[in-house]
Symmetry: C3
Subunit: 265 residues, 3 copies
């Protein structure tokens, strides 16, 4: 079945296109997101001012919105940028960091989720909270398994009319009809800050070159996870893991193309 | 005397609890603070909006406030978060970065220091400035020895009714009555940005698991300093030091428990 | 001719002085800029609030202004800080990140460029956009060669009455009369985020110890580029490159002093 999931072909297109990915992301994630996007072959730009987000979306190939460190002016800019992206047919991905932890965060995430993102990516707690389930959100960490959330994700995807990706030990990506499981990654990745946010950034980069959001998200998850496995092998701790992850993404198109663990469930 | 300073036991509790540490910190420090907290075993979250800081403090086990890159909206949120923490009995730690460098910074640091922090951590210049001494503050670097500031710290601790930690070649922690000296760390740590801020974050994590603020601060200083020594051994420069420090914090509970240099003075 | 370009002597002065460099830079660049400045021997501080930027410029040896992630309050603070720097005779350097990508960005960059910076540093697209040429700006990446922009830079330097540095495979620095070419660096440096911003920071540090802005900029370009070459040698990818670059800047005064490729063109 893997033949139909041509992540390596999408990566080659990404490398060739070097798409400009407009990110409105959180302060913690900016550095690692930008470095991750550069390493995978994209061209990241962090632009958040209300005075220019619409102009900037208009020259970008994809938009990434992440609410990790939100505040009123940024929330306004996120909405504007999302609306402009939709109006232009530019794909955009939402990372509802910490939704469920505070009312402000939940209201903001739900408002943005209603603005027709191409993909929503979160951990199990976040997807459950976004769907209105009583999640066990302890801030930004997942406390319920991704598998448990896969069913909720399917309904959420149908409700929002977009793709929903739930990440965890196994990742699930669904458009409400078809659900793919992606089995890549390493537990030590959860000990490096903002790798989930960086993955959302990489999802934006794949959305720029793969017209089917379900596949774009699955490819991002699989290749980012594979790079994480490469990085974890031999890493002493999360310090070296992060450095090696950036290196691994950089060399991803030079290694033998292994078969990726993407399967329909 | 070391038997009474059970830093290793506190570390084991920290690892088990994985406390949620709410950080309102500066833009430079966010990445390394989050990675440091993850490596030591805590769960960091950076949340600064006035619309949600009180809600977020309410679900957190400790609060970290750092004024490194302050602005009016953030200062307001810091005050709100601190007040909520005190009202809930949640421990909080203040890092008065650069106090003394500008009037705005000094006013802000003093206002926050008056809101009953559990611990204030700064370098000698910062502690002297906070206490109203004419410090030789050159921005954010210490220009006077920590030892010199230890006496001032004792008075400041009595005045504020909290623990004050002065960091330098030797660190001093005092509650105004008892003063502990901690002798760990490496000079190259001063060439990596925001490690003092990260240490303040780690202090927050220990406050979540050790009810005595004097001990929590001393344990954070000792173990963070020990990890710094491990990192500096074999580091070419501050680039590798930072990576190795994160790794060292991660493996801290797997190494032989050495006796830590904490002593009463 | 190299004898007249005493970059190593300037580095020795920088190490000795440890100048306080006030940076108003973008969120992505803060961490790597601060670490780069510490590694080269300066003392960085990130301060952006309108309430304190003028006070902080007054105690600093150089000012760095970078518009990467601009917003109204920050733009106002940048103008204030620049004006205060000029009034005090403190050198300042402007990095017009992404000028040309949006109207807001272009207006802001041109306004700041008119406030008598000592040096403006950008890639070819940025310098062309700043000069009013129709650049091919795709956000923050250069799409036209630095060489092509060198002529425009000369005119811009004359118009602004300052030094203009255009960076690319070969860097050009000009005061409108004399133009220097600097041939150092490595292509992989473009895959690490914010290294251009960090270089602008290092230019600020050299402005603090070298009274001639043309030379200060050339020295910063040459030594930063040399450190990049050292870092790239043996680097697997941009992850290790960044770590090794910080290390290389740190050890720069301990290596044999090679002749630097700075020449008049």
């Amino acid at each position: 079945m893997t033949d139909q999931y041509d992540a390596w072909g999408a990566l080659a297109r990404l490398r060739k296109a070097g798409p400009l990915v407009h990110c409105i992301t959180n302060y913690v994630a900016m550095d690692v997101t930008a470095n991750t996007l550069l390493a995978i072959g994209a061209s990241p730009a962090m632009v958040h001012a209300n005075e220019e987000v619409e102009d900037f979306v208009s020259i970008s190939s994809a938009l990434v919105v992440n609410i990790g460190t939100l505040s009123p002016a940024w929330v306004q800019a996120m909405g504007r940028a999302a609306d402009r992206a939709v109006a232009r047919g530019t794909p955009w991905v939402l990372d509802p960091v910490g939704v469920g932890a505070t009312d402000y965060r939940t209201r903001t995430a739900r408002d943005l989720a209603g603005r027709k993102p191409s993909v929503v990516r979160g951990n199990a707690s976040e997807i459950l909270s976004l769907a209105g389930e009583v999640g066990g959100s302890k801030g930004v960490d997942s406390t319920r398994g991704a598998e448990e959330a896969a069913g909720v994700a399917r309904e959420l995807a149908r409700g929002l009319g977009c793709v929903v990706a739930v990440t965890g030990a196994v990742d699930y990506v669904t458009d409400g009809r078809l659900t793919l499981a992606v089995e890549h990654g390493h537990p030590m990745m959860t000990r490096v800050t903002a790798l989930g946010c960086a993955l959302t950034g990489v999802t934006g980069a794949f959305l720029a070159v793969e017209p089917e959001p379900l596949l774009a998200a699955a490819y991002a998850l699989a290749l980012f996870g594979l790079a994480g496995e490469m990085a974890a092998s031999g890493a002493i701790g999360p310090g070296t893991l992060r450095v090696r992850l950036i290196d691994a993404l950089h060399v991803l198109d030079t290694i033998p193309r292994t078969e990726l663990r993407i399967r329909e469930v």
